[in-house]
């Protein structure tokens, strides 16, 4: 063995080709002992007196407050296009968190994310539909259908565990690539289950007597359609998903995952059950994809097989590379960037220079989005190896000591 097993004794130390910024706080020496971000002060330890005033003068408190209020207020102001774009971004963020756990934190390349999204989306339809349109439907309550769809995506990931536990790197990438093709073949041909090429209708979610469909519900004089209602469901799903992933990454499993990524053999020597962790994180990532699939299906109101192709899988990989490998905030940032960019460019194509109106020749907005997206991936890989999340983290480290 050429590698020295003593090297990776610090699993979070930089090393290896994948060197993402994890959510793990930096070693205490890099951080000021006080301040709201200090590792100890966040959980359980009561803040010393006088801290509260500091908090009131801290601009970050206000930034955070605005960050909480603003998304809650969006449905009251933005029109359906923006809400829908936001919902696509939220669904993408949930899916990206999932693949970041797998690829970013554990170093397992997956090209099959689209397949698990499809399992979630179609699973929800099959469980929730009442069979009125001639397609298979079990007619379960929709919340139960959503939960079951996520579980089924997990089970699908679990069935793949004999492979996902043993393979790594490009080998797993190729193996998961097969899933996408099998999935699309099934989607196009299992007509009773999937409705074939034209897809099938998605039954609207129904929670506590509130139906997330297009029937208008007037809240504070603002008519709420499906996009407005789903916005809150999406936010909640994203919040819960993000917190859970954060917990996983910061706890023992996260350390084990990073250890596997950085040096598989060393991790095994340290007592980490490598195959079991790999299989487990694959299942977890599939469940995230399943949840994203359910949310996407609800936003689309119809699932079509064209969507769940290989480009979708590549999009998810691009999201985590752009956002930052291995961190929850990176996944969210990347997902927002990748899913909003084409829609923004298309919408403002009339106003942007260099982009021609559709049908007049020149660079169409769709092409421009693809160019920018490709450029972003290249620039991030060259200049920001930690992705967008790294930029925020660096600024934080730089500014915090100065505040004292």
């Amino acid at each position: 063995m050429s590698e020295n097993p003593a090297v990776p004794q610090r699993p979070t130390a930089p090393g290896g080709p994948l060197r993402p910024e994890s959510d793990e706080p930096a070693p205490a020496g890099l951080r000021p002992p006080s301040g709201t971000r200090a590792p100890g002060g966040r959980r359980g330890v009561p803040a010393p007196p006088g801290r509260r005033r500091a908090r009131l003068t801290d601009p970050r408190t206000y930034v955070r407050a605005v960050g909480v209020v603003l998304p809650l207020a969006f449905p009251f102001y933005l029109d359906r296009f923006w809400l829908q774009a936001g919902l696509f971004a939220m669904a993408a963020a949930i899916g990206a968190i999932g693949i970041n756990l797998l690829t970013g934190a554990t170093g397992q390349l997956s090209m099959g994310h689209a397949f698990f999204l499809a399992v979630g989306a179609y699973g929800y339809c099959v469980f929730a539909a009442d069979g009125g349109d001639g397609l298979t439907g079990l007619g379960l309550p929709t919340w139960l259908a959503a939960v079951l769809a996520v579980l089924v995506a997990g089970v699908a990931g679990g069935l793949f565990s004999p492979i996902s536990g043993r393979l790594s790197g490009a080998y797993l990438g190729i193996a998961t690539l097969a899933l996408v093709f099998i999935g699309q073949h099934v989607m196009f041909n299992a007509h009773d289950l999937t409705g074939g090429a034209n897809g099938r209708d998605v039954p609207p979610l129904n929670l506590f007597g509130l139906t997330f469909d297009d029937r208008e519900l007037v809240v504070a004089d603002v008519p709420f359609g499906s996009a407005e209602k789903l916005w809150y469901a999406g936010l909640l799903a994203l919040l819960v998903g993000a917190q859970f992933a954060r917990g996983v990454l910061r706890g023992r499993p996260g350390r084990a995952m990073n250890a596997i990524r950085d040096h598989r053999i060393a991790a095994g020597v340290l007592g980490v059950p490598v195959a079991r962790h790999r299989a487990a994180v694959f299942v977890l990532s599939s469940m995230y994809a399943g949840l994203a699939g359910v949310l996407l299906a609800l936003v689309f109101q119809r699932t079509v097989p064209d969507y769940f192709g290989i480009t979708l899988s590549l999009d998810y990989l691009a999201m985590i590379v752009i956002g930052g490998l291995g961190s929850v905030s990176g996944a969210v940032a990347g997902a927002v960037f990748v899913s909003l960019l084409p829609q923004l460019l298309t919408r403002y194509s009339d106003a942007l220079p260099f982009i021609s109106a559709p049908g007049t020749g020149g660079i169409a907005p769709g092409e421009a989005a693809r160019f920018l997206y490709g450029a972003a991936v290249v620039l991030v890989v060259l200049f920001l190896p930690g992705g967008l999340a790294r930029v925020a983290a660096r600024r934080r480290v730089r500014t915090e000591p100065g505040e004292q």
């Binding site: 090429a197 034209n198 297009d214 298309t346």
Partner: protein, 420 residues
């Protein structure tokens, strides 16, 4: 983080939210249809002196060639309509969004344009039309003319397919093979078709007429990424088919015809209207295509010998000198004209709301713009025409096609009821 802080922040946030929500521009204000000067009722999609129509097209995806021709033809139509004074004194504007055959962008484009337009003169991709069908039928009620000829889209009073659907077109195509190419009872025909909506819709048609006429269909399902038809030709030759129907793209058609000719497998091949592009005639498959290949089309080709077609070719060439002439132009022009006709009727009825335009279209029963077929829009459950024109590739004709059989409907297609 202590609990009181979190609770306070949440309470503050909620209070702020309620205050803010009060002054939202989305808040409902009562106001129904506006009445503009002249007593014409107007609604969504009309502001000031402009009627806005939407076009959801594909300029960067798999149907980019079709999308470009359709869009440019529609822009040309709108330009000429405005030059002639517009509709009811209103100018017509076409807002185009390119979705690149991506479901997410298509649905986003629909959501963006829907509140701003009166209807859609173009919507490429039947899965995407199907995806927003519930919204169109449920609350939007805007007229949508899809550039997709799938029978699955029939049955809505707002989504109106122009021309014959693929199943009917295939019935007419096979009928041509029976009448003109000596196909008889007991013969086998091969059908090479795309997986998905287009091919499967066509297959329904070929199976229907095969049953009626006592033929056997030998199916060969392919994927849009399959470009080499050698295996399919070998299989069909093995099965001893007397003719082949192809419901795929131009590339597949060229490969099929070329490979069959090279192997001495000399049978007639007929394709749906999407299975030909004039560019193919310049390839090595060109001579074989001109010998053995036919295309069933819902209208006369762009190079048809009618004054309207000649004028369209001249105008299109003047506006887009560098672009090829193909049948996408006819499709786009026909759809835009149908929408324009509905607008004019709605204007005469003094009702330019979405409802008014829908109603106006339902009264148009013999619409003919000089491309051979007559469109009848009175029945939402049926396509606007059951006729097909049979064309043959010809490199000397404008647009690369000449007519071998004028618009006609076979008796099987007449009796056939499409399943929605």
């Amino acid at each position: 983080m202590n609990r009181t802080y979190g609770a306070r922040a949440a309470a503050g946030a909620l209070a702020a939210l309620l205050v803010l929500a009060g002054c939202s521009s989305k808040a409902k204000d009562d106001g129904g249809g506006d009445k503009a000067a002249g007593g014409v009722k107007t609604g969504e999609g009309i502001s000031g002196k402009t009627i806005t129509l939407g076009a959801l097209t594909d300029l960067t995806g798999v149907y980019a060639t079709l999308g470009k021709s359709v869009t440019q033809a529609q822009q040309l139509y709108v330009k000429q309509l405005n030059a002639a004074g517009g509709v009811c004194g209103y100018k017509v504007a076409l807002t185009v969004r390119d979705h690149g055959y991506d479901p997410q962008k298509a649905v986003a484009g629909y959501t963006e344009l829907e509140p701003k337009v009166l209807g859609f003169a173009q919507f490429i991709g039947s899965p995407f039309v199907a995806a927003v069908k519930n919204r169109i039928d449920g609350q939007d009620k805007d007229l949508v003319l899809p550039q997709a000829w799938s029978s699955a889209l029939l049955g809505s009073s707002y989504i109106r397919v122009i021309g014959s659907t693929y199943d009917i077109e295939t019935i007419n195509a096979v009928d041509f093979l029976i009448n003109k190419k000596g196909l008889k009872k007991g013969d086998k025909i091969g059908h090479v078709y795309f997986e998905g909506d287009y091919g499967e819709s066509a297959l329904v048609g070929s199976k229907h007429i095969a049953q009626e006429a006592g033929l056997t269909v030998v199916e060969q399902k392919i994927k849009p990424t399959d470009n080499d038809m050698t295996a399919q030709v070998a299989a069909l030759k093995q099965a001893g088919v007397k003719a082949i129907v192809i419901s795929a793209g131009p590339r597949q058609a060229a490969s099929l015809v070329g490979v069959a000719a090279a192997g001495g497998f000399d049978v007639p091949v007929i394709g749906n209207n999407s299975a030909f592009a004039p560019q193919l005639l310049a390839t090595q498959a060109g001579p074989a295509l001109m010998k053995n290949y036919y295309v069933a089309s819902p209208s006369l080709p762009i190079g048809a010998d009618t004054p309207e077609a000649k004028k369209l070719v001249a105008d299109y060439k003047a506006a887009y000198p560098s672009d090829a002439l193909d049948n996408g132009i006819v499709a786009g022009w026909t759809a835009a004209s149908a929408f324009g006709e509905a607008l004019k009727k709605a204007c005469a009825n003094k009702d330019l709301t979405r409802e008014g335009v829908d109603k106006a279209l339902l009264t148009i029963d013999s619409f003919d713009i000089g491309f051979g077929t007559v469109q009848n829009f009175t029945d939402p459950a049926a396509p606007s025409s059951r006729e097909s024109v049979i064309l043959q590739p010809d490199k000397n004709a404008t647009g690369g096609m000449k007519v071998v059989q004028e618009a006609a409907v076979s008796k099987e297609a007449e009796a056939y009821t499409p399943q929605a």
